[in-house]
Symmetry: C2
């Protein structure tokens, strides 16, 4: 039966007030899909303001057995942020910065603030929070924690898991708990903080977070855009920069399809080369880097002449997804990680898959992490097109697994990849790990209400 | 009944060979205590060479119900590396570097190599592994993972938890499993790697590790030794350097008792000031740092004139524990973390406790982490002295908890602090966290053989 029933809706209204409970189809439309078009229609959306309200909603879900998820901007790409006939807790009214601590170098925040707004608050203090998924302008702290998000700066600074000190969480039993301490070091007990990061809303609802912050660096860098006629050469550059011990702040790549889409859809004007690299290099390392570019057969080496052009290079990479999304009615975004020295080989494989099926698979990604985003284009209303896209998707996942890679580096598993999570773990001697993950899920969520039937549980 | 019995000893010999099974009291003497004099006499020590042998020993333990721990150098300070009438797996024959990967920036090692030897292997490649507990010259990778160790460089680079990419582990059921991937990013499943780091041998035996490495930095720094007449001034310097966004490679402190012990026992010759700070400052930040030293009333500011003197400053801090250990027949090492802006206040409190009980409590620690090591001296054979030391120990732990601190930053819990682990978690809204930790322990160790009765289980 669809819907919560009148009595439960009344209870929700009693908890958060009438204006913060949405149940009408029109009102909850925005919550029925995520950014990659996974769709599930929730029964209700509630917008709490306090941890106490979150706990009451969780207890109601446990009592009635309705599934529940917390959701920020819904910018997930894997179906982790939608739920069929369940309750969505929209955390975005809980968006306060509770403390910026410039001695202990952390910020204490509620989960509903966006990463961009967080960094706006930090800037006047001379600090920043590094993880920067492409969706930073809307994605929330709570969402980024649950997804273990990455981004462009992660080549230097790591992903969300490297930046969370402590959390407050409402558990499926409705009790609030603090995991970790807002301290530079803490060895008191097992590390439950890292268990929450990347748990995709399956273990509890984050209500507060203490995040590490660091000083905005003042190292002088130059931003390069370098183009190549083939992927082998670009891959060789990536490996050689790494083994030359160069640690860039930015190290990205884009293929011809990405650049073409940016030029056409967003009126940019970059060279449409087979492979384009974006690299920040510290001034002292510029000579080494330039030599490597040349020796590997770069077609064109452009140094950003000023801040404005450097920002234009960055925006090309950051906006690639938006440009590509306009090319087809359906997209399937991959999030493969492979050993960095095998990037060129893997990218060749993806292009081979595209040719074999006669489809478009634009590819961009984080060169310095070995993290690749092949984006498979298809037509939503055409079943054959969907099937072809899916066949290509599966081939790409399996190739990654066979190369010792991972099917996800920063987007997560959700509804998109539980099958491949399982294949990966089994192929990489992780069968017992999967068993332990399922048992840990059962320990946290005896009530079986937290984003059920996805991710680890579905694997 | 003591001992394994002849049949089980024969089985162990069948697994690893006669020369790698120790059962005689004299032979196992070294394994009956750790570096802080926790004592428990094991029934047997085995020295496996392969993961397969580790798994067979674990299965034997599970079958017979004998408790089991893996142990490296035994440099633990909390009783985590000793076991009464159980089996110790000494991992130090498994000491190979399996791969140094300078493109993907990791090293793949067996657990028995020491951190110092690991860094010797990395140096010719221009890379290093940052965590550096004072015991680096002997402590093993496996021990450092199990303890989640820290060290002097952690102010800049974090602790072990920030450097482990993936692990192979023999679980209590005797099955080998891989956790995580040797990739820069990986979101495939819950984070079991971090659950292992700092688990103190209670969840499984680490048999291989993939550790992140980074280029040896070439930033120019100056090393300062700065003395103060009181702790308030030193504490003020620490806070002001932090809020001035200075991120040193080294940021340590020593009290008068430490310097006195170093001068007397190790023939060093430093000024015996109330408080001494050691700080590395990047050359561009030297003027700001010097101004802060002066404004806070530094008595003496010494810049290391060359590498040799800089190393002498470092050795003063690194050898402090060795010097202090000679001052009494018994020592109780604390490992408190407090918010950095409350360090001065906390250090004053410790000195007050020492005065109250009429005992010596030399204090040193990691200023930039808020991580303090009060070292309570007592006479082992004198029961009253032991009781007094324990009363002081408990007051210091409780003060840390009440200040929002942690009772352990890098040494762990073991047999030393389960009571305070529990007090801390309950005081800091972590009661449900403790329940979850106990249930996770039960999920991993149904057989109840892995370092039982300590740490989380004992809390």
């Amino acid at each position: 039966m669809r819907g919560l029933g009148e009595e439960n809706v009344s209870r929700l209204i009693g908890i958060v007030g009438r204006e913060n409970v949405l149940t009408q189809t029109k009102a909850i439309e925005d919550y029925a899909h995520d950014m990659a078009d996974y769709e599930s229609v929730p029964a209700a959306v509630v917008r709490p303001l306090t941890e106490g309200q979150v706990a009451e909603v969780v207890r109601l879900a446990a009592m009635t057995g309705f599934p529940l998820i917390a959701r920020g901007a819904g910018s997930s790409l894997t179906g982790a942020a939608v739920i069929e006939n369940g309750i969505i807790i929209d955390t975005r009214r809980m968006d306060r910065v509770l403390k910026v601590d410039t001695v202990n170098w952390y910020v204490h925040v509620q989960p509903g603030i966006s990463l961009e707004d967080l960094n706006k608050e930090l800037k006047p203090h001379g600090f920043f929070f590094p993880p920067d998924p492409a969706s930073s302008y809307i994605c929330t702290v709570g969402g980024a924690i649950s997804e273990g998000s990455g981004g462009l700066r992660c080549v230097r600074y790591g992903t969300m898991k490297d930046w969370v000190l402590a959390l407050r969480v409402v558990l499926p039993n409705g009790k609030a708990v603090k995991f970790g301490e807002a301290l530079a070091k803490n060895r008191a007990g097992y590390d439950l903080v890292h268990l929450m990061v990347g748990s995709e809303g399956t273990l509890g609802v984050v209500t507060e977070a203490w995040l590490k912050i660091i000083p905005i660096p003042d190292v002088k860098t130059k931003r390069f855009m370098v183009t190549f006629g083939d992927w082998e050469s670009a891959g060789e550059v990536i490996s050689r920069l790494r083994s030359s011990r160069i640690l860039p702040n930015l190290f990205e790549f884009l293929d011809k399809d990405n650049i073409h889409a940016l030029n056409e859809k967003l009126e940019m004007s970059f060279d449409e080369a087979e492979a384009t690299l974006l690299v920040d290099v510290e001034e002292t390392q510029v000579p080494v880097a330039e030599e490597i570019f040349q020796e590997c057969g770069a077609v064109k080496i452009i140094v950003a002449r000023d801040e404005e052009q450097a920002e234009a290079f960055y925006q090309a990479r950051a906006m690639a997804y938006v440009a590509i999304k306009t090319l087809a009615t359906g997209i399937q975004v991959e999030d493969i990680v492979v050993p960095i020295d095998r990037l060129g080989e893997f990218l060749r494989f993806v292009k081979g898959v595209a040719a074999k099926y006669g489809i478009k698979i634009p590819v961009n990604g984080h060169a310095g992490d070995g993290n690749v985003h092949p984006t498979i284009l298809y037509e939503r209303e055409d079943q054959k097109s969907r099937e072809t896209a899916n066949a290509a998707f599966e081939e790409i996942c399996r190739q990654a697994i066979s190369m010792g890679g991972s099917v996800t580096g920063e987007h997560g598993v959700g509804m998109q990849k539980p099958k491949f999570l399982k294949e990966q773990l089994i192929a990489h001697d992780g069968e017992e790990a999967l068993r332990l993950m399922k048992e840990i899920k059962a320990v946290f969520d005896r009530e079986r209400i937290m984003n059920p039937g996805k991710y680890v549980e579905a694997a």
